[in-house]
């Protein structure tokens, strides 16, 4: 049963020079206990999608359409007061940039206790106990409670933030680029922590990253995003073994691997499209190695290739049917 079901979600930013369709008609499902990865280049709308789920979009951005069903309740129809009961209690988020998300002039204890007291009916002593327990569950010693953020390493700060996000026992955790700016060993530790939390707490996780090698390590399902749309969605094996969309293939081949024989890296030329002025047809066609004539005219629709494998590409449907 899907825990979170997003359908036709549209989040636009109304800026002076035009409209940025950062999330443009996105359908996505997160099942209970699942880890979903959202991948794409910077500016493709990944973070906007995450913020939309929590309804944290600020003007000039606005959610203009669609539904976000959490346990059959449409989050977009809730009043702000009701939404506040969902945020952090049911759906929590670890924001991008662990280094800067903590307040430098308060101890870790103060910051976690504040989160707990604000959201739950706890006394301060109870909250402090809970804070220590939370830190333990993310692998931190309780002596960290007395520390200020500058006394901690990047990995420790990220753990503290995850502990804070878990303070109200949420059902969904959204992690936006949880390991960017951490070195490989710390990164591996954080990834393993997320995986453990998923297993032990039955937590459902959405991980946002541009790094497909990270997502390969922890996710069950992967959605590839390009110019505000989901261009491919499948379980993790399918994405890496039989990628359908040329963009997915290009992204995977852009990663060097430390194991196995050395393969040349393929270079995906060009930059992500200008979101105000998207190219006609498929937004990926100017960079696509297998673009057809139709790709620059008609926008492709999402087609189902397999039970849980969807792709938005002309190579797999509509007028230009080809063997996959």
């Amino acid at each position: 049963m899907p825990l979170l079901e997003i359908s036709g979600l549209k989040t636009y930013y109304y800026v002076d020079v035009g409209v940025i369709k950062a999330v443009n008609d996105v359908d996505l499902v997160l099942n209970k206990g699942e880890c979903l990865g959202i991948a794409g280049e910077s500016g493709c709308g990944k973070s906007t999608l995450a913020l939309s789920i929590l309804r944290l979009i600020k003007p000039p951005g606005r959610i203009v359409g669609g539904k976000i069903l959490f346990k059959d309740v449409d989050l977009l129809s809730l009043k702000m007061e009701e939404m506040r009961k969902i945020r952090w209690h049911k759906i929590a988020m670890v924001f991008q940039g662990a280094m800067n998300a903590l307040n430098p002039v308060h101890t870790i204890r103060d910051q976690i206790v504040e989160a707990i007291v604000n959201h739950l009916d706890y006394s301060k002593t109870e909250a402090e106990k809970k804070a220590a327990a939370l830190l333990k569950s993310v692998g931190l010693n309780s002596s960290v409670l007395r520390s200020y953020p500058h006394e901690l390493s990047g990995g420790m700060k990220q753990r503290a933030l995850i502990a804070m996000a878990l303070s109200c026992d949420p059902e969904i955790l959204i992690a936006d680029e949880p390991t960017t700016a951490l070195d490989v060993v710390t990164q591996a530790q954080i990834l393993m922590l997320l995986k453990d939390l998923q297993r032990q707490r039955g937590l459902s996780i959405i991980v946002i990253s541009h790094d497909l090698s990270i997502l390969a390590q922890i996710c069950d399902k992967i959605a590839i995003m390009y110019a505000g749309k989901i261009v491919e969605y499948a379980d993790v094996e399918t994405i890496y073994v039989k990628p359908a969309h040329p963009y997915t293939t290009a992204l995977i081949n852009a990663f060097p691997s430390v194991r196995g024989p050395k393969k040349p890296l393929s270079i995906l030329a060009g930059e992500p499209p200008n979101m105000i002025n998207l190219p006609p047809g498929c937004p990926f066609h100017p960079r696509c190695p297998s673009a057809l004539e139709i790709c620059c005219k008609v926008e492709p629709k999402m087609v189902q290739l397999d039970r849980e494998h969807y792709v938005t590409c002309h190579l797999y449907g509509g007028h230009a049917r080809k063997e996959s």
Partner: protein
């Protein structure tokens, strides 16, 4: 081309009043500790390690942006530590650095033209007219085409990848022979990353360059470097030719670094050896520095620090297992 001999840099921590009154010895961080290596002309040497292992300090010492505590640095046969400031300025033309953060490395109030003109002005090279031609040529060779489009832009108008191209062209404009690349792609997206890596390799051929390439990602180092130096807490713990080092790592630390790199393949999972996250007291230097986190540590490792031992095939490792 470049030789570093027994190079060390210790940072002495300031004492508090109490420690001063108690006459405690000031604490000291050995950011770079007795490091020796050579880089030949035309090589790309990778310097790999976690954050805090001293990679950037070593790079800054080599460029003489920091004065070392002890040791010697020879650049093209010249002992650069004995040079005066004026003599050093000449050498600086030949050794340049590309920093990690393309957002912080460019002055936000200067246009791209100004940014690229500055090094030429500092070294009073060429007439103002010639400078424009050189800048345009440079922008073209780093793939910012057509250059006229970029000359009057400010850094904030460019994407991360474009900014890093500007940073690279600024380093190249004095026609250096040696470049330090300090994590040049770690803040860039995957697709932009491969574009910049490709550019770095192309420029090496075009301008006949030698690189010291700093990164924490061994997968990246594998694609770029001929040789890799692995650094841990100020020491070089392993050195070797890239494919050899990656296919059969010797030092437990190198093994750990390799096992932590995520692979774009869901059937190969990352793993960390036991004790990998053990707390390390950064002020103690007894025994092997890695022994607190090492799964294979013995009593000897806790007592004595292993020297860097040379093995066959140009490899070296600092671990008692290979003595």
């Amino acid at each position: 081309m470049l030789e570093v001999v027994h190079l060390s840099k210790y940072f002495i921590m300031r004492r508090g009043l109490l420690q001063y009154l108690r006459r405690e010895e000031p604490k000291c961080i050995r950011a770079v500790d007795d490091v020796s290596f050579k880089i030949d002309k035309g090589e790309i040497v990778g310097l790999v390690g976690e954050s805090g292992s001293g990679k950037t300090t070593l790079a800054r010492l080599i460029l003489r942006l920091l004065e070392p505590t002890s040791g010697k640095i020879f650049f093209e046969g010249q002992d650069i530590l004995s040079l005066s400031n004026d003599e050093m300025k000449e050498i600086r033309k030949k050794m340049q650095i590309v920093f990690q953060d393309p957002y912080g490395a460019l002055n936000p109030r200067m246009t791209i033209q100004k940014i690229l003109e500055e090094p030429l002005e500092v070294h009073s090279l060429y007439s103002p007219k010639e400078r424009i031609d050189i800048i345009k040529k440079m922008l073209k060779s780093v793939g910012l085409n057509p250059p006229e489009l970029f000359l009057d832009k400010y850094p904030h108008e460019l994407s991360g990848g474009q900014r890093q191209r500007v940073v690279i062209s600024r380093a190249l404009i004095l026609n250096p022979s040696f470049m330090v690349m300090d994590e040049p792609v770690s803040l860039l997206d995957a697709t932009v990353r491969t574009q910049i890596l490709d550019l770095i390799l192309r420029l090496k051929e075009e301008f006949n360059l030698t690189y010291l390439f700093i990164t924490h990602d061994l997968a990246l180092a594998r694609y770029i470097c001929n040789r890799i130096l692995v650094m841990y807490r100020g020491r070089i713990v392993e050195m070797g030719e890239t494919e050899q080092l990656i296919s059969e790592p010797l030092h437990p630390y190198t093994k750990m670094l390799i096992s932590a790199v995520p692979v774009p393949n869901p059937s190969i999972k990352i793993s960390l050896p036991p004790r990998a996250s053990e707390f390390v007291d950064v002020f103690t230097y007894q025994g092997c520095r890695f022994c607190a986190r090492c799964p294979e540590a013995t009593q000897l490792c806790q007592r004595e620090e292993p020297p860097l031992i040379s093995l066959e095939g140009g490899r070296s490792v600092a671990c008692w297992k290979y003595k």
